[in-house]
Amino acid sequence: MTPLMEVRNLCVETTQPPIHTLLHPVSFTLHAGRPLTLLGETGSGKSLLAQAVMGTLPPGLRARGDVMVEGRNFLALPARARAKWWGRHFALLPQEPWHALDPTMRIGAQIEEGHRLVAGRSRSAAQHATDQSLMRLGLADCRRHLPQALSGGMAQRAAFAAARTTEAPIVIADEPTKGLDSTRRDEVVTLLREALNERSSLLAITHDIDVARQLGGDIMVVRDGICLEQGEARTVLDAPRSEYAKRLIAADPRHWPAPASPAPASAQPVIEGRTLRMKRGNRVLFSNLSLTLSPGEIVGLTGPSGCGKSTLGDILLGIITPDEGHVHRARGHAPLRFQKLYQDPPAAFAPHWTLHTLLEDLCARHRLDRGRIPLLMTRLGLHARLLQRQPGQLSGGELQRFSILRALLLEPVFLFADEPTSRLDPITQQDTLALLTDVAREHDCAVLLVSHDPALITASCDRQVVLSG
């Protein structure tokens, strides 16, 4: 088993003083046919490592150490020379395939150009190769589609085809499953496994333990740019040694503690949807759907992406009116007390103002008691100094907790949480969700929690509704 790539004391640091080390020296070897997975939460320097290996670090950063490929130190090569290796020795699977594909070029062309210009095949050969790969990836009928017409999974596969036109031996996949639901995720993983053979290997970067487990091979646990432990996948996952690895694995919804005893469904439902029917285009999302939520009840809502989970929530909130059926809200509740948590926390805040200003606005608008803010902040584990920051300067987890706080200020009776944690890494996700459910129960607030991860729903909800789509 020959090493395809040998990385020695690779570290990343800032070029301008004060010199910051963003990734502490790591060393590993990538063997043909044996994938290596970097496991760790987002921002822990994993992606930097990938970029360092590829030589695509953003300006202001530089990599030190050796990356030995075919007996040469790739890192020592000049930038121009390194670029020549891209697509030929390295195939990089982009983080967000959707954005990595040229929005104005047809899928077929984007793959074909690789076969012609990189692999140097003749026009006809390139076309043939393109058709082949599209066929193999089940995209045969997407040849003339534009990227926007593809689903996340399809886009990922198309990008994969475009990146590997030369069967480059070293495949680097950076968060390949980001934002995909479980089924799509499994597709991508199998796709990656197929890429493995005796000549090629895979360097995967993810925070998703399932992906790591399914890929197998070796695992490296990285945090804050420091490699905590590495070893054979099974051993690391089943018997983690480092504290952080333990927590990371524990953070997998399947290992969450069972939910607290369901709150007694009180007679008076707080909100109720009756015989709801909704179409998108000419496709019926759901029909004759009814559900009720009682105070303090946490209801999970699952289903494949695009099955209308968000739509259902928006209907309940009155943002959208259903085609049929109607929504009944318990009397005596101001519309303000029906609130929503968004999937992408930064998108739910006005970016140009400090959180203090924004909360102040809210209190002023509704003459709320400012005194509750500090209390809630401590309850949600938010540090006071965060108030002076702008939304963009907070982490996703912190910001999501702020949106919970913002909702709680209005003493909500119903919260529609639309995948509130899907953009967060496992540990933060667990903490945030735990907080949400606990606080909701304390305030007798009904929550409709959307997630594409059944395990997560079962772990944190009293009962669940499944949309088949």
């Binding site: 992606s47 303000l336 609130q339 929503k340 968004y342 930064p346 103002w353 606005d361 608008r365 300067q393």
Partner: protein
């Protein structure tokens, strides 16, 4: 780089943020111009209208710091007056173009459908009318007044603001942050103040920066076809046309208003911080 959440952790990213230095420079430059226009006359009191036909086109020197114009008037005096007037009028035209432009733009972007369509159509038609015609006609209605020129120019320019603001508003208004603000019980006023304006401001200010120069240049162009002349008032655009015939005999004269305008535009540019996209 990976997600927004990590930004504050990596210090170097602050380098990516546009440096405030440029804006400082812009503000400073503008301050200097204003000082030139308003303060210089205080210590150097020369009438911009006093003529000395025996000493025309004198080069810059001890007696006349910036020389004299074809009628022997002090260029320094005239430039100060011109800067005062042009700054004021440029702002007037920018304001009278930006305010309606932004207002209608926001309305159109906010209310898709009929309102949007009709406003859009009006804008398209105005755009299609030769701007020159509007300006000429307005100039002819109130002959010899500057405001009529600048307002006429504004009649043409407001459409730019409208277009930009409308498209920006459209996308913003459907964004979660606005939907969320609505759910939190905030009204249009608040949404404009906290959500829309911060996004629109850079675009608008940049347009304004260029709009100011466009206005002054338009006036000089009109002066060139002898419209809007009003002796003895000094105005940058008109000074350029007045001094144009002397380009070879006294090039420094023509250069002065041109440089002033350049500095004016530059300062606006730097203040705005961005360029129209």
């Amino acid at each position: 780089m990976t997600t927004t959440a990590t930004h504050h952790r990596i210090p170097l990213l602050r380098l990516r943020v546009p440096l405030p230095r440029a804006r400082m420079a812009g503000a400073l430059l503008l301050a200097l111009l204003i000082a030139f226009g308003w303060l210089v006359p205080l210590w150097h009191d020369v009438s911009p209208h006093h003529q000395d036909l025996m000493h025309t086109l004198t080069p810059p020197g001890a007696e006349h710091l910036l020389g004299t114009d074809p009628l022997g008037r002090s260029m320094l005096g005239r430039l100060t007056e011109a800067v005062r007037l042009s700054l004021g009028l440029a702002l007037l035209s920018v304001a009278s173009a930006a305010v309606p432009g932004v207002v209608f733009g926001v309305i159109a972007g906010w209310r898709p459908g009929l309102v949007d369509r009709s406003l859009g159509l009006v804008a398209d038609v105005v755009l299609a009318l030769p701007g020159l015609l509007l300006v000429l006609l307005l100039a002819a209605i109130a002959p010899g007044t500057f405001w009529s020129l600048y307002v006429g120019i504004a009649l043409v320019l407001w459409v730019e603001y409208f277009r930009v603001v409308r498209t920006a508003t459209r996308t913003l208004i459907s964004a979660p942050q606005v939907q969320c603000a609505r759910m939190l019980g905030f009204g249009p006023g608040y949404i404009f103040r906290r959500h829309l304006w911060p996004e629109l401001a850079p675009e608008v200010t940049t347009l304004a920066a260029f709009g100011a120069s466009t206005a002054v240049l338009a006036v000089s162009s009109l002066g060139f076809v002898s419209i809007g002349l009003r002796p003895p008032t000094a105005e940058l655009g008109l000074m350029m046309t007045e001094l144009f015939p002397f380009y070879q005999e006294a090039p420094w004269l023509l250069a002065q208003p041109v440089i002033m305008l350049f500095l004016m535009v530059l300062s606006f540019q730097l203040l705005a911080g961005r360029e129209p996209q």
